[in-house]
Amino acid sequence: MTQEKRVTYRSRWLPWLLLAPQGVVIGVFFFWPAAQALLQSLQQADAFGLSTEWVGLANFRALWADPSYLASFKITAEFSLLVAVLGLSISLLLAVMANRVLRGATVYKTLLIWPYAVAPAVAGVLWLFMFAPSVGIVAYGLQAMGIPWNHLLRADDAMTLVVMAAVWKQISYNFLFFLAGLQSIPKSLLEAAAIDGAGPWRRFWTITFPMLSPTSFFLLVINIVYAFFDTFGIIDAATHGGPGQDTAILVYKVYYDGFKALDIGGSAAQSVVLMVIVVTLTVLQFRFVERKVNY
């Protein structure tokens, strides 16, 4: 809180009253449950949920010893990396092209941003429908070309499916930010380089790309956060984390273990691990947003 108002009001009770609604909501639905998750991660309930006992870090030790949890980490890493890299490259390409055309730029923009409005779960259903082994039109096309496709049986196919759906949904967001970034690059730099004889390809790599680096870093963090936390609907609708648990990212596993397998302590320990990840990502995000400089 560095910035301050010079002129302020004085009141003993009014600011508290104004903050009360937000305060109650975050107290009851954020801090209390988060504290509960921390407590539960150190406890173990018996099979009937009648008594709980303190077990220290046993839940965490059990997690690290659980091959399916470690596998879920690997799956999440692979998934978020693919989503971030593919999503960023495709949107950057589209943004650079949209920045180049004079005529129709707004039309392209409108036609590219609407997937942002599609719910992740609906995106999952749309892609599932195209790739469903029995009825999907794209699955049919692939099989006709001799490419076997069955995301219900093959882990790689399932991963490809959820990555495609997740990237599709996120392109619009990345596109808007890249386009804004491109439009803020001073034209004089590019013109000077052009006069010096640099072609479009060279200008992109020596001027545009470095100037975009703050935007790119920022989007990288946002995309990883998106892949970690906002893709639950896509995964649940398209693959249920399957086949087996081959697309069960960490968030899906927290939900599954807590609500389907009813392992409260284990699920709480997973929540705590996720909390640590969110804190790290948030810190990263704010560091990159603070430093808005290009070189």
């Binding site: 809180m1 910035q3 108002k5 302020t8 009001y9 009141s11 009014l14 600011p15 903050l19 609604p21 937000q22 305060g23 009851v28 639905f29 449950p33 988060a34 509960q36 998750a37 495709i90 390409l93 092209m97 180049r100 055309v101 392209y108 590219l112 941003i113 609407w114 409005a117 599609v118 719910a119 992740p120 779960a121 609906v122 259903v125 429908f129 195209m130 082994p133 029995s134 009825v135 999907g136 039109i137 049919y140 392109i171 808007l176 804004a180 034209k187 013109e191 052009a194 946002i222 936390f229 609708a237 927290v254 609500f259 699920s267 709480a268 705590v272 996720l274 909390m275 969110v278 948030t282």
Partner: protein
Amino acid sequence: MVERRPALTFLAHLVLVLGVVVVAFPLYIAFVASTQTADAIVQAPMSLLPGSHLLDNYRAALFGSATGGGSQAPVAQMMWVSLVCALIIAMAKIAISLLSAFAIVYFRFPGRSFFFWAIFVTLMLPVEVRIGPTYQVVADLHMLNTYAGLTIPLIASATATFLFRQFFLTVPDELVEAARIDGAGPLRFFKDHLLPLSRTPIAALFVIQFIYGWNQYLWPLLVTTNEDMYPVVIGIKRMIAGGDAAVEWNVVMATAVLAMIPPAVVVVLMQRWFVKGLVDTEK
């Protein structure tokens, strides 16, 4: 554009058209499927041209007269639930964030920085990391299967509070002084000066938060067990739960199209605010 290169411009249009086609393809397929009969879709490959059953399918979806496996709850009811939830979430988020930001910017009081940081920390506590205990709280408060349960836990907003705080900091101090000379107290100043000035950030946030509310999935999945309280996004998922063969894809796709229309309309019609909202909330 720095120089004229017709070949490159052509390439740019080509890439963009390709991008638009790929982005639009899933939607087109969904629309085409929603105009055909269930049998026509099952006989792969389905036709890529719209069929003649558009009205039948949408009627079946809206009023729940489908016959396939999985859930057959009427979509009209679900759309209503989604709309109510999205509106409550968007408006309540804006309201409580405006009040919080006003208190934090325009008052000096003990506990001010405590509140500021408490609100900031909620950024690091998305529902996914406290999923079990939050469910427990809502269950204990008897809010399962209610609009209150679907919305209130989601209306705290650090991003909205900070956006308004940022905006209030740019409002000139002279305005407060002038209002004070005119004899206006803090609430009067908030209502007569600050609110009208905040129309732009309010509109921008409304678009973002309406979409956020409409697209909620994990939270409604936990707190609704009653078909009458399913938002449409959950409803679609329940429809395909009947297994591959029993799914009436034509009705499912009609529902998907219906579920996409309201947020898409909001984005396209309020595009200017939408872009502004996206860019501003990330600052």
